[in-house]
Structure formats: structure tokens, C-alpha cells
Subunit: 378 residues, 2 copies
């Protein structure tokens, strides 16, 4: 079977509108809000074959297949290698749902949406949302779709945190949780990198306190720096050495501050591309949600206590060269579940691709996900 | 013996003016230039007890003792715990020289100096200087001081690269080289971090293409981000977890983008302090010198070939938690020297302080430096 040829094909996003207020962790009630989502495959009669895909920092609802967008970064779904007919998350069997989280910049209610109280864009006044808020909103979407319980909730990185939080927040509504390249909270170093990225945005003169939409400008300098820095933490040192090393660009040797090394060229390209379309307020919100996530906090730091109410079965996947969320962090989750006698499998995948490994086509990794989902009932 | 009480005391900087042109690697001849330096202890009659201290990215000539400056960051020398009467680098025995490198912002000729060709500050037109250029300039200073050969050249980080380069560039003028917390070149990841820091400065609207002096502004936003990022790479993940962890500031819980976590407060403090006094053009120059340093480049990557002409004895020191220049990188230097049958000792110090360990008071580390220098003849 050639997985790559098994595309879902052209997909169209859908929109769910909610008028029942959503109480957020910060104390604000979001009175009216939309979620943009995509679905692949068919919901069966028992409504028990649905899988929710949670996205990471810069992700969105367009997970698989392709769109007719003229924005190239949106054409192919960000996890198309994982999801489709015959792929590890097999849409011949499962009804797969991708959703853009609240605060996002791909169609769901977020900082660029109109604040009903002011009839102007929310901007920096958009409430700070948390992983718990996202899960609560996703549960409303499940209601909307007629899904009482997900066969599985799946996510990588910040998405993995949502997959974990689902099992705590709605223990009866998730049968399997696939927590990939994630951690039970951020370390000081993780927060530090987020802080530098946020400060780059917040101190960009074009940020205008988050109300740049009305000024006709975008804080692209700050977003660009944030993304460049992010990319350093997504790759591994070894992989960077292999891909770029100390290789210079053609025409290097100028003894100046233009691009001299291949790695500089790569980072500038990634930074420029991202700054051209991503929303700065969304970047702030997503990184803050990462900072705040800490399910053990209310249990005096005892993750096992926090996870005790989960009824799901777990697959935890980590990657050898991921230094953003290392295998040691994944094992904290695994150890807490084992301590509780809960059902968990942990696989550490040997991969050169650092944190980004969870997005990569890797035979062993994909076989693990395929096998796990192949064994679940629906 | 209490090392801490053995301060050199009040010190004054000196200035050496040079009119003989200095040909730089970039092709420019620096026609007239100054080096600011300090000396501690006394040069003996044979002029064979002199030790040169090379500084790192943000360092300078004021290495030990204290000044009467009203700028607190300049009051105590940056390596005062290492250098003084009875200290590991013992000024009762050695004549110790600290120098501010060309391109610096602490008195030596640099971007804020007047360009004789234009009678305006050099700014971004200051030539890009390399480690080789610095060593050549330091050799002129040695001539000026009547020192034919250094008993030792000592440096940490970028300073360690200079200590290494001295042995290649002037094999007969350095008897011992102490290469501390250094590497034979930067990795792609190292360059990537430098690149983000530089881009923060270069894209700060107050940078004005490097000619901000005449505009009455300083690119403090960019410098601040550069320093915050630098600090992440100077500390270790473990040390950050221990010092800051996920602890919140008093009054945290605002669900906003002000400082919430202790680590944010620390980084902002360090960034603000640095941005208040350091020169942005100097930061660019120092990071580019780091990027370019690669003594093996002209030998097809064979470091052992590059080091073959060295006649010095070497002490290479690395630190277990240094992830900027890891022990593995130090071993590349050691292995090259061993391959050549050259005289080298390597000590890996167990330390929690990451790259910054080379600046810390650590009994084992200081005992090693003391013992090594105690055994050299002069």
C-alpha cells in the first residue's frame, strides 16, 4: 500500500456557530463564538468511530487532504501523511475531525474577529484562552456533531496536551488518548523561549498594543523573530548539523551581516513565510496556553492524582531527538498513569527530526499509530 | 586562604595607540586604532610571566579588581573570582593583561569611534573583525608591552577561541593555552541562535542601518531580545528548572502577557540591563566573529592539521551542563592535539551552571587552573 497516493482529496471547511456562552478560565464568558472545522470519513450509526485531531501552536483545522486555497501554506493538510484512506489514521474506518481552536487565526473566533461589545476587532482584548477552554469548546463541537464519546483524541505537541486534558476534563467522552511529542507542562526553559518570542511581538512598534488591525500594519518583525526562534527548538542539533552544518551560501564571504550561512537562509525563509500570514495575537495566545498548561497544579504537583479520574487508554509517543518535549517529559505522564494502574503504552521513536518528528513520515512511528488504532473497538 | 578577600583593589584602564596599519581578514586596513587594557601584578625582568586574558561576547578589559566607575556593571571585574593575589591566576606571580577587543564598546576602537575617513562614528561601516584579527591586534599590544611570549593565553567561550587561535597564529609567542568552555567552531544551532539575535537588532527600527548614534536613539528592543535569548543558552535546562521552575511572580494569574513566571522576570531584567549600556554594532561584530571562527576551514576541516604548528601546551576545560559548547566539542580540540602528539590536558568539570560555569566560583575548577599554572615555569 502506498500511503502517499491515498489522499482524502479536495476538502472544504465547515463552520459551527454557538450562542450558548462559554465560560473561560480567565473569568470571561464568550457569549457568541464560531469554530471552523473539517471532517473526513463518515460517522457510523453508533457514532462511536470519531477521532478528534487537536492542533499545535501554528496548526489549524485543515489537517488532511487539500483545499483550493490560493495560500500555499493551506493547500495540503498539516498531517496529511498520517490521515486518509488506508493511512495510519484511516478515514475508511474513522470519522476524523480537525478543528481550529478558539483564539486561532484560521476562521474560528479569535483576535481578528469582531468583538460584539465594541463592533471592532478583539485584538489584544481577546480573552486569554487555556487548554481547558479549548477542550470545553471542542466538547461543544462534539455535541454539535452528535458525538458523545470520541473513539480517540489525538494530538502532537500542544495538541498532545489537549489529548491529555480531554481525559481529565471529560473522562467519559474519550476512549483513547494519543499524546504525541508532548509534556505534562512546560519547563522554565520552554517558558523562556516562549517569553522571548512574545517579547519580540509585544515590542514590535507595529504591534500597537495588539490593535494593529485598525492601523493597517502587522508586527511582522516580531512574528518573524518568534518563528525563527521556534524553528531552532523544533529541530535537533544533530539534524541542523546534518542539513546545514557550517555550509555557506553562494556568494558568502562578504564579511557582513547579510545571509552567509545556509542555516541563516533557512531561518529567514521560515520566518518571512510565517510572518506573512500568521496572526500575532494568536501567537501570543497559543504560547500563553502552553505556559499555563499544568494539570497537576491543582493537585500540589501530583500528576498521578490529576490523571486518576481519566478512564481512557493511552498511547504516549516521544522522539529521541526532541529536546523541546523530551522522552523524559513523556515518561512523567507514563509513570503517573502506571502508578495509577491505568492502561498506557509508551513508544519512544528513534528519529533525527527533533520536535518536528511528530509531523514527519516515519515508518516505525506510523506503524505504531496504525497498530494502536487498528486494535481499538468501534 | 580566602580567595575572595584577595582583591586586586582599585584598577585603572590604560590606552595604547597604534598608528601602524592593521590588515584585517575582511581586506580593510585599520590605519589608526586604540586598545584599552588593564594590567595586574608586575612584569618580571625576563618578561616571561605575562598572561593574556581574552574576553567573550560581552566582556572587556576590566577583568579583575574594581573601578571607580558609576556604571555598576563595570565596577567589579568580570573574572575577579579567578584573578588576583593568591587566586588561581595569581597576580603575586603573574603579570596579567586584560584587553578590550577591536570592535568592542568599552574603549577600544569600535563602531562608536570616529571613522577618520568621514569624521563621523563608524557605525555599521566598522569592518567585520575576526578572531584572527583580534589575535593580531593583541600581538601588537604584546609588542607595546615588551612581551615577546605569553606565559599563557587564557579565555572562556569566545575568549577560549582566541586562546586557541594564538597557538596557531603565533606558535612561538604563547607557551600555554587555556581553552575554557570553547569549541573549535560553531554548530549550525549556535549560528542559528546568533542569527536570531542579530536579526532582532538589524530589524529594530531604532537601528537605522547601524548609524543610530547620530539619530540620538539606540536599538534597545533588539539588544534586549538578543540578550534574553543569549541567557537561555548560557544557562542549563536543569539550572533553570532549579532556580525558576514554573514559579509565578507575586500577583500572577492575570491571564495576560505581563510577567507571570519568575523566569520571565529574570530574562526581562537581564535584557533591560544589557540593552541599557551595550553597543548594538558591537553585538553584531562579536557574534559574527564567533560564526566565522573555524581554524580547520583552510585545512579541509582537519583541525589536527590546523593545530600542528602550535608549540604551546594546552589545558582544555569543559563543563558537564554546557550545551552551548559541550564537552564533546572540547574533545574535538583535545583529540586533534592528541592525534598530533601535542601536550594537552582535558578536564571536564561537573557543574550545574551551563555555559556560564566558566565564570563561576567553583572549587574544583579553580583548583585545576591553579594547579596547572602552578606547574608552569617562568
Amino acid at each position: 500500500m502506498n500511503e502517499d497516493s491515498n489522499s482524502i482529496g479536495l476538502v472544504h471547511s465547515k463552520r459551527a456557530h454557538f450562542d450558548a456562552p462559554l465560560p473561560l478560565a480567565c473569568g470571561v464568558d464568550l457569549t457568541t463564538w464560531d469554530l471552523v472545522f473539517e471532517t473526513y470519513g463518515a460517522l457510523n450509526a453508533a457514532c462511536d468511530n470519531a477521532i478528534l485531531i487537536c492542533h499545535a501552536l501554528s496548526g489549524h483545522h485543515h489537517v488532511a487532504g487539500f483545499t483550493d486555497s490560493d495560500r500555499p501554506e493551506e493547500t495540503l493538510g498539516w498531517w496529511d501523511n498520517m490521515i486518509g484512506p488506508g493511512k495510519p489514521i484511516d478515514t475508511n474506518r474513522f470519522f476524523v475531525v480537525g478543528v481550529n481552536n478558539l483564539g486561532g487565526c484560521h476562521g474560528s473566533t479569535g483576535p481578528a474577529s469582531i468583538n460584539p461589545a465594541t463592533s471592532r476587532p478583539w485584538g489584544a482584548d481577546f480573552p486569554v484562552v487555556t487548554v481547558e477552554d479549548w477542550v470545553a469548546a471542542q466538547a461543544r463541537l462534539a455535541d454539535y456533531l452528535g458525538i458523545h464519546a470520541w473513539a480517540a483524541v489525538v494530538g502532537g505537541s500542544l495538541g498532545g496536551m489537549q489529548a491529555l486534558q480531554w481525559t481529565i476534563q471529560f473522562p467519559k467522552r474519550v476512549r483513547h488518548s494519543l499524546v504525541i511529542a508532548a509534556a505534562p507542562n512546560l519547563t522554565a526553559e520552554n517558558i523562556a523561549f516562549n517569553d522571548v518570542a512574545r517579547q519580540a511581538i509585544l515590542t514590535d512598534p507595529d504591534f500597537h498594543g495588539g490593535h494593529f488591525y485598525e492601523k493597517g500594519v502587522r508586527p511582522e518583525r516580531g512574528l518573524r523573530l518568534a518563528r525563527m526562534l521556534g524553528h531552532i527548538t523544533y529541530l535537533s542539533d544533530d539534524q541542523m548539523a546534518e542539513r546545514f552544518g557550517r555550509r555557506k551560501r553562494p556568494g558568502a564571504g562578504s564579511y557582513g551581516f547579510d545571509v552567509e550561512f545556509e542555516i541563516e537562509s533557512y531561518l529567514h525563509y521560515q520566518g518571512d513565510k510565517f510572518a506573512g500570514f500568521f496572526d500575532a495575537n494568536t501567537y501570543l495566545l497559543m504560547t500563553r496556553a502552553l505556559d499555563y498548561f499544568d494539570p497537576a497544579l491543582t493537585e500540589n504537583g501530583h500528576l498521578a492524582v490529576a490523571l486518576k479520574r481519566a478512564e481512557a487508554n493511552f498511547l504516549v509517543v516521544s522522539f529521541t531527538t526532541d529536546w523541546r518535549f523530551s522522552s523524559a517529559r513523556a515518561r512523567e505522564i507514563v509513570n503517573a498513569l502506571v502508578h495509577n494502574g491505568q492502561n498506557v503504552s509508551h513508544v519512544e521513536i528513534t528519529s533525527r527530526h527533533g520536535h518536528d518528528s511528530f509531523l514527519m513520515q516515519d515508518a516505525h512511528y506510523h506503524a505504531i499509530v496504525r497498530a494502536y488504532l487498528g486494535n481499538i473497538s468501534s
